[in-house]
Amino acid sequence: MSAIEIPTGNAAPGRGGAAAVLVGTHRARRHVPLTVVIPGAFLAIVILAAIFAPLVAPYGPTTGSISQRLMAVGSSGHLLGTDGQGRDILSRLIWGARPTLLEGIVPVVVAGVIGTVLGMVASLSGRKIHTLIMRTLDVLYSFPAVLLAIALAAALGAGVVNAIVALTIVLVAPIARVAETEVARMRSADFMEAARASGASWPRIARRQVLPIIAPVLLVYCTALVGLAIVFAGGLSFLGLGIAPPHPEWGSMLNDLDQDLYNQPVLALIPAAAIFLTSVAFNVLGDGLRDLLDIHSETVS
């Protein structure tokens, strides 16, 4: 599990010293790269399917009959087969996308807001507050992310909301770190000095001068983090720390099908593939957005 760690600054390409000023260029009319189009289209389908699950899914998420258990992929009436209790896997996959996506996206959004604010406050305030915030976050960061998520979720108890809370706490530290680094890169820029000289208050400078610069970087980073959060969410529900059975979730589906691995190995791959593809799609989308937004740093001479 130690292989899955949250990378910091994955979205922060280029190493700029204090002298490097981030120059984002808004060029009119640029090509939308395929790395945005393809994962974007895939995720749009997944998200739409989740939203319109009652209309799209051929069966209810919990309906099934023992007589139809463990039907193979491609059986008539059950495109992706049935699980150990005879429930349609395609339907459970579609219904299960709801909590899975929720647990992937909501923690990143919430942690994104909290982390960005913490990072900006830390970077723009005095040494004491900076130390207080960053060292506290370091403590959180020093635990392996997966372990921390499991420990927190276990302490809070099973359930979607608790899983979201646990993942949010885990994600705040890396996001705040990226935000802090990005702000530090531009803190001594000339336009920051000009903003200070203008007499504007710190919160106003943070909102109007700093945020427009760091927002694209954080957007890219957070998009990629959603992919990671989905894997984490899958892990939690695999361990039974997510949604309560019999309601489906990709991680818990994996757990269910795991028991029949020897009879129908292909079936167990289906929720695994769903988690994998969605996670990769968010990662690729993050990379694509970086190209689209043309985030790069250059030293202005």
Binding site: T25, F191, E193, R196, S198, G199, R204, R208
Partner: protein, 322 residues
């Protein structure tokens, strides 16, 4: 000069964390509507002086009074009130404007900071851009779409937006091509004539400082070595450093006073007079005590910090230059 000075800086000193004594007992006065130039080479402390005056840095000693009010005792709301009247035009227009804000947004930021009503900001920014000669078509462009000269006009418009009484221009035209620099200098003079604000004009370019200033302060190694009316300074430079500075301006085969050596380390400046290590007139006494500013030829408005000015010899006459 009986008016209350708009800016009074007394005995400012600043030592940085790395031990560099950037500004050492600097005092200067700016009266309403006048232009005071600070001239000197890199590392002389002229920009740091500007930052101390703008309170972007806090001085170790000394105080700055703006319009009779001590900036050091102010914070928050009251400091903001002062900053409305004390604005900055920084050196590099390419980096002093936020790359993600359009030029209108950049100016609007300044106005919002001083609580302008939203509905007034639009017409105000348009009027300012027009005033400094930036075509309205550029109003919603980003800085990288404008040339250096246009950007510096935007920076000037931003400084003007709050009707300041003093604008600190920190090397404001140094990054521009000469043909464009002249346009911006003319604009600065025109704005001063129409709006009546004072300038503190910090530059290494003697020609530009001379052109713009009523009074000029010459700095070397964190200290003021000479302070005089501009015309007087150019005709009768009293301090040997000023003289060397003037004669270093490149030009065709004139008798020149070329200094030897480099600036001494600002972490460990020489005893006594900071310039003595490069001064062609230095004598033993120069190392003993820091020279006090004194009137040149009985003219109290022309002061120089050199113990030998009373002797009536200048470096140039000593080495036989014109």
């Amino acid at each position: 000069m009986t008016t209350t000075p708009i800016l009074l800086a007394e005995h400012l000193s600043k030592r940085f964390d790395n031990g560099v004594l950037a500004v050492d007992d600097v005092s200067l006065t700016v009266h309403p509507g006048e232009t005071v130039g600070i001239v000197g080479e890199s590392g002389c402390g002229k920009s740091t002086t500007g930052k101390l005056i703008l309170r972007l840095l806090v001085p170790d000693a000394g105080y700055v009074a703006f319009d009779g009010k001590d900036l050091g005792t102010m914070s928050g709301q009251r400091l903001q009130e002062v900053r409305k009247q004390l604005q900055l035009v920084p050196q590099n227009p390419q980096t002093s404007l936020n790359p993600r804000l359009t030029i209108t947004e950049a100016i609007a930021f300044n106005l919002r900071a001083h609580r302008w009503a939203k509905k007034d900001i639009g017409p105000r920014t348009a009027g300012l851009l027009d005033r400094v000669g930036v075509p309205a078509a550029y109003a919603h462009r980003y800085p990288h779409e404008l040339s250096g000269g246009q950007l510096q006009r935007v920076a000037i418009a931003r400084a003007l937006s709050t009707d300041p009484k003093l604008i600190v221009c920190d090397e404001a035209v140094s990054a521009l091509d000469k043909s464009v620099q002249a346009q911006v200098l003319n604009l600065l003079v025109e704005l001063q004539r129409d709006l009546g604000m004072a300038y503190l004009f910090i530059s290494h370019d003697l020609g530009v400082v001379e052109h713009l200033s009523d009074r000029v302060v010459v700095m070397y190694l964190g200290r003021i070595v000479e302070d005089s009316a501009a015309g007087e300074l150019w005709q009768r430079p009293a301090h040997p450093y000023t003289e060397a500075l003037f004669s270093s301006v490149p030009g065709p085969g004139r008798q020149r006073l070329v200094l030897t050596g480099d600036l001494p380390s600002p972490t460990n400046p020489p005893s006594g007079c900071g310039f003595r290590t490069r001064c062609p007139m230095a004598i033993g006494a120069c190392a003993e005590a820091r020279p006090e500013a004194m009137a040149v030829a009985g003219d109290v408005s022309h002061q120089a910090a050199c113990i030998r000015i009373g002797e009536g010899v200048t470096a140039a006459t000593r080495i036989g230059a014109a």
